[in-house]
Subunit: 259 residues, 2 copies
């Protein structure tokens, strides 16, 4: 049974793509078959795995709009057991192209479920979302069984959290009764910075068990990795950022069983 | 004659809001009358100036959708000469609410120009955009005379730049012939980080004079300031981040005259 996970936060630059790349890679390294779906028209997840622009002719746009077969779109990556449905700038017009289509919020779920039944068995699908509560993000929340919410330990990042929780609740009450929050992940944590520490305390006291124990520290190696087309956990396995993502993978598996 | 400036980049978390808050505050400190328009449904610019949620009943949504008078919506701030049209979560439905309206891309320009003619004389209007090339961002590009593009000195941030430049060119060729790029601003620059240095070299060699000489360093005081509802240049005037924004204001005025 494939677990479908979406990584969402409309606040920009909080570590959604970095979390998808590193968590998916850690799970693939344990022998699980993992598929990433890049839903951001900038295609950062595709770039982070070295998918060249000319290899993105078929993309997540085609999965959703032209209903191309999943097996024709997905690509292998440098990481064993890890595959990706890449993104390109076509995605920017999804809102317009779906316009007034019936059930436009259900489109990705329908196409993905159909595609997964026709291709190899994937243990996990991770969806990387754009920084907006737009139709693509809604489609991913309708499709997913679980949600991970990366939360940068910065003041502005707290602002949109309640709006996101409201949206998740609305989708659970309408299109996707199964949708559960697997956890809120504190990212870019800097233990020398009082604000970071303050935000961690606030978030843990308000959200308690929803917050992953594992925090991802701010770590320059994680931001260097994409320039080598590698996830951080491969680019520099022993750096603090990579160790944190490996710990996160272990906690992810535990939470998955209990959720 | 009011100068209308929009601060745009669909990549998330690159310093759009921080640049609007600090640049607008520096110009207000020189005696210019400045208006910020918050176009992000998360309302970070409004929060950064201490506008409470209960004071956002009328917002940029009302300016664009219900065509409320600008003078009824704009609010004073703690900063002399600086006013703001706040944002709230209503903005998230603008795409839907404008739906198939005729000339939906021209809506903000029409309402803002009308509003500015009825209120006090503003020297500058700064628009803070959400991290997306959506209808709100397009409206701001149609409205503006000049664009500032904050560019984080990180690998992923380079990715969306060409898509943004294409969009700006398209808007210049259709709705807004006057639209000029005032400059690309390198943000969160860390001189100890090879990647930052590499990116600065790459960007200056490809974009040359388009890039501001002034760079904004990564500086924790800038990220602490919003938790005190103050722009960085007021929260800690002498920190490296604030000094950089003050230098940017001087360079802004020079570039404005030459553009
Ligand atoms: N823990 C970390 N330490 C340092 N840098 C990080 C960390 N996580 C991510 N980054 C860097 O910060 C930037 C933002 O991260 P990322 O692109 O993953 O966020 P995002 O939420 O996917 O952004 P967007 O909202 O634009 O999709 C990137 O340049 C990335 O390399
Ligand atoms: N030069 C800087 N040094 C350190 N932190 C910064 C700097 N500029 C901005 N920040 C912090 O980084 C985060 C992202 O900045 P900001 O919110 O201004 O970006 P944005 O582009 O407006 O994000 P979004 O795409 O979500 O609108 C914020 O928490 C902010 O306080
Ligand atoms: Mg991303
Ligand atoms: Mg912002």
């Amino acid at each position: 049974q494939t677990n479908l996970i979406t990584v969402v936060n409309q606040k920009g630059g909080v570590g959604k793509t970095t979390t998808v790349l590193n968590l998916a890679t850690c799970l693939a390294a344990t022998g699980k078959k993992v598929l990433i779906i890049d839903l951001d028209s900038q295609g950062n997840a595709s770039t982070g795995l070295g998918v060249l622009p000319e290899d993105r002719k078929l993309s997540s746009y085609d999965l959703i709009i032209t209903e191309e077969k999943l097996s024709n779109i997905l690509k292998g990556t440098k990481v064993p057991n890890l595959f990706i449905v890449p993104a390109n700038s076509d995605l920017a017009s999804v809102d317009m192209d779906l316009g007034n289509t019936e059930q436009k919020a259900l489109r990705l779920r329908r196409c993905l479920i159909k595609g997964l039944s026709e291709t190899r068995e994937f243990d996990y699908v991770f969806m990387d979302c754009p920084p907006a509560l737009n139709l693509l993000t809604v489609n991913s929340l309708v499709t997913a069984k679980m949600v991970i919410i990366p939360l940068q330990t910065e003041f502005f990042a707290l602002e949109g959290l309640s709006q996101l929780m409201v949206t998740i609740k609305e989708i659970r009450n309408t299109f996707n009764k199964e949708l559960k929050i697997l956890g809120v992940l504190l990212t870019m944590f800097d233990k020398r910075n009082n604000l970071s520490i303050q935000i961690e305390e606030d978030v843990r006291s308000t959200l308690s068990d929803l917050v992953f124990n594992t925090m991802i520290p701010r770590n320059v190696k994680l931001s260097e990795a994409p320039s080598y087309s590698l996830p951080g956990v491969i680019y520099d396995r022993k750096c603090l950022g990579s160790i944190a993502y490996q710990k996160l993978a272990a906690e992810f598996l535990k939470r998955e069983r209990n959720t």
